[in-house]
Symmetry: none
Subunit: 197 residues, 2 copies
């Protein structure tokens, strides 16, 4: 169980190592946390080592490593930075976090595995999973799970034209389908997409 400052420090060290290939010094950690005392920072590092989140790498400078047995926060991942071709990882100010539980784990969410290439140009590939929020209405532009004629279910982008509904694939080799509104029932809105390698 980490305290707030320990958590912040561990995140900082993780990001620092990802960016620079080696650990920060105590003073650098202190600057990142707004602590002026090396001794205090040292106590936090010791605590993280004790708790198994860090490992000593000899006793030289910058001598800590990230290590194995770790029970990181259950549902929150640190958003460490932005990566672009040809640039160093850009730290994101304000320590943003990705909270899976809030975004994906509501009671009305479920996951579907996508089969087929009809949404490939929206970056949804065959085999990906989409997180769907149960809903019976949607806005223009939403990617929806739609039931057509109580028979077929499909994943498409939605556009309304008066009393007609256009279901637009994201694949230039496929054509849109247009139906009267009463033949289409919205079953859910895609709120996330997930792929595992």
């Amino acid at each position: 169980m980490l305290t707030r400052v320990e958590e912040k420090l561990l995140q900082f060290i993780t990001r620092f190592i990802a960016q620079n290939g080696h650990a920060p010094t105590l003073v650098e950690m202190g600057q990142a946390l707004g602590i002026r005392s090396k001794g205090t920072v040292h106590r936090y590092v010791e605590s993280l080592v004790d708790k198994g989140h860090l490992r000593r790498n000899g006793r030289g400078w910058r001598g800590v490593r990230l290590t194995g047995e770790n029970d990181r926060r259950l549902t929150i991942l640190p958003l460490q930075g932005r990566i672009a071709a040809g640039r160093p990882i850009e730290a994101i100010p304000g320590q943003r976090e990705v909270n899976f539980s809030e975004l994906l784990l509501g009671h009305d969410r479920y996951v579907l595995e996508v089969s087929g290439d009809s949404m490939i140009e929206a970056g949804i590939l065959d085999g990906d999973m989409v997180v769907v929020r149960q809903a019976d209405t949607a806005d223009n532009g939403d990617i929806v799970v739609a039931l057509i004629d109580n028979e077929e279910v499909t994943l498409k982008r939605l556009r309304r034209h008066g009393d007609r509904i256009e279901l637009i694939p994201a694949n230039s080799t496929l054509a849109s389908m247009i139906y009267p509104a009463d033949r289409v029932r919205i079953q859910g809105i895609v709120v996330g997409q997930l792929r595992l390698y």
Copy 2:
């Protein structure tokens, strides 16, 4: 059997942990319930522990956890079925589940936001997030975070040619880059990709 206030408190704690990743303090609980006395709140927490709905996690601050069933639900999403254009949702036999904590939330995982289109044909778009597992080696075909000349960081697919390393973008308008192995350091392997709408 829980009293009314105990019920409200348990709901609050569950929601709080889902949102914040850690338990609230007594004062925070009190604010949520409209109770000004820490002592009173403490009595309810004790009662919930006694009745088995909460568990103590050491004796530090924010040191309570949910017990078994409540806890596990937070990181597991039901995988409902497979969706394909023109077919009903196909139920998947055996009620598969997607366990986020296992796949994405290891200690050595972190998230980067992707900027740029260099991996667009692999379904990784500008603004997506990738989950990276810290690693210093990778296999052919892995998508890696690579540090070049200790300066540039880039996200590319890896291929080794003897002592040379080819970094292949997934964008037909961009060319591969080939470097001697000693100029490239692998920083991590992409193990997942995530997009939020």
